[in-house]
């Protein structure tokens, strides 16, 4: 992307004063250090509490603890009668949970061989091991997440009421393995607000993808089924090698309330590994995601049997926060431009500090802000390795010195502290932003210090240093060719009289804006014609491959797999994407959550049903299969149930579904 050279800002008197002001606050150690200049009118008030930066230890969210329960029956209609193991699961479970569901393509390969089993052969692929019938399979993992109110101290001495998953903010880090199925029972005990949970970056059935209209209502539960599988290649085999996810996050996704719910604490990480990534860990190329015996590589579990996080693989959620005088989280119900906080937080703590050993650490950066864009770098200017873009590992590790992250972007990086023993460095953000609409530009002379690393822990020689360097091969990428695309779609993200639209249309829950034939490859052209706003666009279900950004070759890390793309003002991105495995309605939308809440969104429906119709190819009308969506511009389904919820329920409770 083009660099922002707004250095002229520093020369203006306002910029000078701003820098001086920030410098003064930085040295005084009193927050809020971000002097967000209020706009001409109605700028939000600053957080009125002081704190000393770099004194709060970085919180590392605890791992989710598996539990046991009886999942809902996919053949039982949702409702009062849906009782599983004595518990009411009103919204049921995905129909894909049924063992003979058509999404399984008649193959019994969704559950992989257990990679912890001593007979597992690491010299063969995941596919080859799965073919060994003697190897036991992974067992289904179950988690229970109860969304409930909680109170935490974001700033010292200040109690802040929040929403939480299981009284934890960030929510528990979910650990998944490719080929290990999972059911998460989400229960809404928030009392008075609707929710929907989206596992961002995952290849998931429609029922469990967190469609904004499929709420989990107060007092109700839904079983979210995550098969943790990948799409199939052309030969019909699951494509573990090129498609397995690594760094995902889960967060609220309820229509009209997403921004509010996420800012109030409903977010957490989900870290996945497949055979390929686990082998990289076993071979010492990457740090272990889990806590393992350094020699035997056996998992070291805690007293409850829960797998623990490896010490050198740390998720970092970059957030910003603003508090009111009573400690509650500032919220402007009328702001649909974008929320900007004035306290920079990582994993919920303001400008925290982390003590590290002089070695390489894998840091999974995630821009979890509603509207703030970032450009991160290290304060000493040293390069760091980027391992992954968004959910997926790159084909090889790439050196970076600065990294642009829009809201929803993940950047999986390795920072090497081995030459910094006894020193301190900072993770810095050099993207200035004073309004929710878009960033102002990069200012390298006025970095915001996000967190501090103190390299004062003694090196634990039991764990060998990982060997990844610039150029190390990671996850191969199967290039999608432009010629494979059978359909081209065009989406223009625009603003109309203060409200957000796509293709000059407002969102409708009942309209299949993109009815896609299951298995198709499509080219989508995404355009942001407006100069005044930036829109990070996120598409659910599968990765997409960016082929052109403003007519030019995209930057290296955007060429492979992404699940979101930042549309700066006046830009056009062209992407290739496949739509496989699951049918039903999904969404794509702007991931500025405030825009998302005014429905800057469209439905895509992946359709198994096709009919013979016609299409235009090279100006001539030819016979072609045409998707038959179930979204029909009136209701969600006609007449079969969609996503496991019967049409009759939707018809009698229309307000529940849009």
């Amino acid at each position: 992307m083009r660099k922002h050279t707004s250095t002229s800002k520093g020369l203006s008197r306002r910029g000078f004063i701003k820098h001086g002001g920030m410098g003064a606050i930085l040295t005084a150690g009193v927050a809020p250090y971000l002097t967000l200049k209020p706009r001409a009118f109605g700028g939000p008030p600053p957080t009125p509490f002081p704190y000393t930066p770099f004194t709060t230890p970085l919180p590392i969210p605890a791992r989710a603890v598996p539990v046991n329960f009886t999942p809902a029956n996919p053949n039982t209609p949702p409702g009062d009668a849906n009782i599983a193991g004595g518990e009411q699961v009103y919204h049921g479970i995905a129909p894909e949970y049924a063992p003979n569901h058509v999404a399984r393509a008649g193959q019994n390969d969704w559950v992989s061989a257990d990679r912890e089993h001593p007979s597992y052969n690491w010299n063969l692929t995941q596919q080859q091991n799965d073919a060994n019938a003697a190897l036991p399979r992974f067992k289904e993992v179950r988690h229970r997440h109860v969304m409930q109110p909680h109170r935490i101290n974001i700033l010292p001495g200040v109690t802040t009421p929040v929403y939480s998953y299981n009284k934890q903010v960030l929510g528990p880090t979910i650990r998944t393995r490719s080929g290990e199925p999972m059911v998460v029972r989400y229960t809404n005990n928030l009392g008075d607000v609707e929710t929907s949970i989206h596992l961002h970056g995952a290849h998931t059935p429609s029922h469990s993808d967190g469609h904004p209209c499929f709420y989990v209502f107060p007092g109700k539960s839904r079983d979210y089924y995550y098969p943790n599988i990948v799409p199939r290649k052309k030969d019909g085999k699951l494509d573990w090698i090129t498609e397995s996810p690594s760094t995902m996050w889960y967060h609220d996704h309820g229509n009209d309330v997403t921004a509010h719910n996420v800012q109030h604490g409903l977010l957490g990480f989900c870290l996945n590994t497949d055979h390929l990534e686990e082998k990289l860990m076993r071979d010492g190329v990457l740090p272990d995601c889990d806590l393992r015996d350094p020699t035997t590589k056996a998992l070291i579990r805690d007293a409850n049997g829960t797998v623990q996080a490896g010490p050198y693989d740390i998720p970092l959620a970059l957030c910003d926060m603003r508090l009111n005088a009573d400690g509650t989280i500032f919220w402007d119900h009328f702001d649909h431009d974008g929320y900007l906080g004035d306290i920079i937080c990582v994993n919920g703590a303001p400008q925290p500090v982390l003590q590290v050993e002089p070695r390489k650490y894998r840091l999974r950066l995630s821009a979890c802000t509603l509207a703030r864009h970032w450009v991160v770098r290290l304060s000493n200017g040293q390069p760091f390795l980027q391992l992954g873009n968004d959910t997926w590992l790159l084909p090889q590790a790439i050196n970076q010195t600065e990294l642009y992250m829009n809201p929803a972007k993940r950047a999986d990086v390795i920072v090497d502290f081995s030459r910094l023993a006894g020193q301190e460095i900072f993770l810095e953000n050099i993207m200035q932003q004073t309004g929710g609409r878009k960033p102002d530009g990069i200012d390298r002379r006025a970095p915001m210090r996000v967190m501090k690393f103190v390299v004062n822990k003694p090196l634990n020689t039991n764990y060998k240093e990982c060997t990844v360097v610039n150029g190390t091969a990671l996850r191969p990428h199967e290039n999608i060719l432009e010629s494979e695309a059978t359909v081209t779609r065009y989406f223009d993200f625009n603003r109309s009289n203060g409200a957000w639209q796509i293709n000059k249309e407002f969102y409708s829950a009942f309209r299949p804006d993109a009815p896609i034939i299951s298995g198709a490859t499509e080219k989508w052209i995404l355009r942001n014609g407006s100069g005044g706003w930036w829109h990070p666009i996120h598409i659910h279900v599968e990765a997409f491959q960016v082929i052109r950004y403003n007519g030019m070759v995209p930057k290296e890390t955007w060429k492979y797999k992404s699940d979101n793309i930042s549309l700066e003002g006046g830009t056009t991105a062209e992407i290739l994407m496949k739509f496989r495995t699951f049918d039903g309605p999904f969404v794509f939308h702007c991931h500025n959550n405030n825009h998302e809440d005014m429905r800057m969104m469209k439905n895509m429906e992946i359709c198994r049903n096709v009919r013979q119709g016609t299409t235009i190819v090279n100006g001539r009308r030819v016979a072609a299969p045409v998707a038959v969506p179930t979204l029909n511009n009136r209701w969600f389904s006609v007449p079969e149930p969609i996503v496991g919820i019967p049409h009759s329920y939707i018809q009698s409770h229309p307000a529940l579904f849009s």
């Binding site: 009392g191 607000v193 009111n324 989280i329 009328f334 407002f506 409770h653």
Partner: protein
């Protein structure tokens, strides 16, 4: 920053405000989180979102005088659209969709709510002009729908408070490309939201119903199978 001045420009803070004079002194609470969150955590009930909206004097198309918040918003569910009677752009659609949504909502529930069409052209849109406009749109005889006008400065302040002023144009009340957003809220629940007025009326109704809770929470709580729960 005191609540009373939260939405005023520096000039207004220096020179006083017609609306602010009528507001009782408030403790310095600043903005508020969703009261939903604060209440469930046992914090003292904070000032509502509506306390930051000017309690201006307005006149309706029936020549009735109201205080905007005290009489029309406080403790009520409200849907607000922004029009001017000479508009040949989006306003006809805004009013039409509000009417369609109104009918859907009335079919489903007897819970009361207020519809407000606020003119952004107060100089030309007298109560009389608003009456003619309401008649033209077939909604003049709906008791709980008010077409209202306020003094120019008050209209400006009101629109700014709910972010529906024409910020891009520089002048809050510029008609060209004015807001097409419907603002809705439930003051008791302290929940507010917005949706493009050009959205389908069914969505406007559904969103309003869900956010403003025109039906009690138990209607949204699940798939009731008994007649009483419908």
């Amino acid at each position: 920053m005191s609540t009373a001045t939260a939405f005023l420009s520096r000039r207004e803070m220096l020179f006083g405000r017609s609306c602010a004079e009528t507001k009782p002194a408030q403790p310095d609470l600043g903005y508020r989180a969703s009261a939903v969150v604060a209440r469930m955590s046992g914090l003292a009930t904070p000032a509502r979102v509506s306390s930051r909206i000017p309690d201006c004097q307005v006149v309706s198309h029936r020549d009735e005088r109201f205080r905007f918040i005290s009489d029309l918003v406080a403790d009520r569910r409200v849907m607000m659209g922004f029009i001017y009677t000479h508009c040949e752009g989006i306003c006809p659609t805004t009013t039409k969709h509000m009417f369609e949504a109104y009918k859907i909502l009335k079919e489903r529930s007897t819970e009361p709510f207020v519809m407000l069409s606020i003119t952004i052209d107060p100089e030309r849109d007298t109560p009389d002009a608003l009456l003619r406009y309401a008649v033209r749109n077939g909604v003049a005889n709906i008791d709980d729908w008010h077409f209202i006008t306020a003094a120019k400065d008050d209209t400006s302040a009101l629109l700014r408070a709910i972010r529906q002023n024409n910020a891009e144009a520089g002048d809050d009340l510029t008609q060209n490309n004015h807001t097409g957003v419907l603002i809705f809220g439930n003051d008791s629940r302290d929940r507010w939201g917005g949706i493009g007025a050009g959205s389908e009326p069914i969505h406007i109704a559904n969103t309003f119903e869900r956010t403003a809770r025109t039906r009690s929470l138990r209607h949204f709580a699940g798939f009731g199978t008994t007649a009483e729960e419908q």
